[in-house]
Amino acid sequence: MTLVEAMPQQTESIEKEFPHEEAVVFQSNGETLFGIIHTPARERFTRRVGLILIPAGLQYRIGPCRLYVNLARQLSEEGLHVLRFDTHGIGDSGGDLGEKYVLDLWGSIEEGLFVQDTLAAVDFFVRQNRLDTVLVGGLCGGAITALICATRTDKVNGLVLLGLPILKDSHAAQNSLTDDMNLCYYGREIGSFGAWGRFLSGRSEYLSIFRALMHMLRNKRSDPLMNQVFLTSLKKVSGSPALMLLIYGERDKYRSDFEDRFWRNKEYRALKRRLRPHAEIHVVKGVDHAFSAPAWQIVLAHLISEWALRNFERPSPDRRTNSLIFR
């Protein structure tokens, strides 16, 4: 994992002369999805490399803090083709997500709600821009969607994961935490006569005990909030040829989740070893979850284009991601 210095806040505009941008629509599961394609004014890569930016949670295609617009414009100037699109029920796309709790929708996204739309976007973008190489990525929910997507198709050559969440985000996850806490509590009480007395005399919370036991039987994981879909997807991707660029802002809460619960956890040592030849991880100093300042977005675009150039311009084993400084 490398720590990258963010540039100081700079005042010059990152808006350049308007590049080639085109509104497009394509189909996924019977819904019309809407997107914007940024085509480089001049090709700098000898191969056509395209990046698909998947919506961050429920934020539409411009991304939080307009991150995706600025990234796409910057990256297309550096020679990448970029597609920003709205998944079903978001932005200008068709479909209906219903009026549900945002927390529950985030939970569904972390389990693959938008993977089908992303696969459709991959097929469309490859065809539309005649791409040789496809990268998928995004911030937060977009990052986890990209990771899951890479396990469902071999068309994805690389992943650009920004502020990747590794824990579950939903009311169900909160309930799971409650069950886990109850399990700890009842585990401690098991040797108590008083507790057995309450149990036998009908004064216990039987529903809580039952749920805690069921939780124990169902779930022998050490970290109840860890998103299992993240772990299984990461395992699959680590065995595939797809490369991975993972970037966190230093001030991002998800960065500490990743470091504390995954990176420093001995349980995942073998998985980390498998990941090393595939993954490059950066933490950008002083930066928040959404890379909200335009100056930070420039740093981010630079990291992405430099990685893409190094790994996909003239692919050869010696140029691939394997020279990382891991903390």
Binding site: Q9, T11, S13, I14, E15, F18, E21, A23, T32, F34, I36, L58, Q59, Y60, R61, I62, P64, C65, R66, L67, V69, G89, I90, G91, D92, G94, D96, L97, G98, E99, K100, Y101, V102, L103, L105, R251, K253, D288, H289, A290, S292, A293, P294
Partner: protein
Amino acid sequence: MNEEPFFVRDGQRELFAILHRPSGAADIGCAIVFCSAFAGEHNMSRRVLVTFARLLASQGFHVLRFDYSGSGDSGGDFRNTTIETYVADTRLAIQALRQRAPCSRVGLLGLRLGSLVGAMTCAADDIDFLVLWAPVVDVRRLFDGLLRSCLAKQMAYEHLVAPNRAELKQRLLAGEEVNMGGYLLTGEMIRWADSFEIERIAKANHPPCFVVDMSKTEKAALSADARLWRTSLQHNEACQAVAITEDSFWQDLPIYRQNSNPAFQQTLQWLRATKGLRLNM
């Protein structure tokens, strides 16, 4: 869906727009241009406006949605935008609409700060009616609220010891930029907010106007902002105001919002009932 996305180009300006054409109902020869909310509020409210645009199209309207310079998919730098540039953007959007969809009547629908933009555009352009959703009058309060929410988020999620609002405003007025949820706010906007007076807009000769005041709690009375609007426009007999119970769908909410049925229904009802508009719906 019969929706046409396009870029409106005019010199240095490049606005992203989507034209919804009538679908499922006969063309009634009327178009509505949406003046969206400001900065982050624009992002949060987008889906509700998309849903309403589709509903209007199904009733025979043309609807044009566009992004102000420096916002959404449009070009430009947010830091160079002011309320005057928003008005100029709106006029350019209206011009693009008239070229693409010749309609005998054109109205504006403004949400939050977009209400002011709409009202100011009316003074300069030939507009047949104005619909104002949750209109802002006290612009200083709007900016104070945006700064407060930005500081609260930084303190809650990132545990940053942030300066207070007054300090931030001082910095802005001294020429610094403040990152307001990804939008770099400048002193220009704050100076404009401090000097803004609703009366200046009210002097303009407004077309028929419908104010939809939105409040989280059920109440019969209008909010202070909506009352000010009504008072300011009282010389206009065709001005009506209603209070509805509705969450602030332009802000972070626990529920994902895609529509606002009370606002949709009240607005459609007003459009149908206002005789001066002569809409055959």
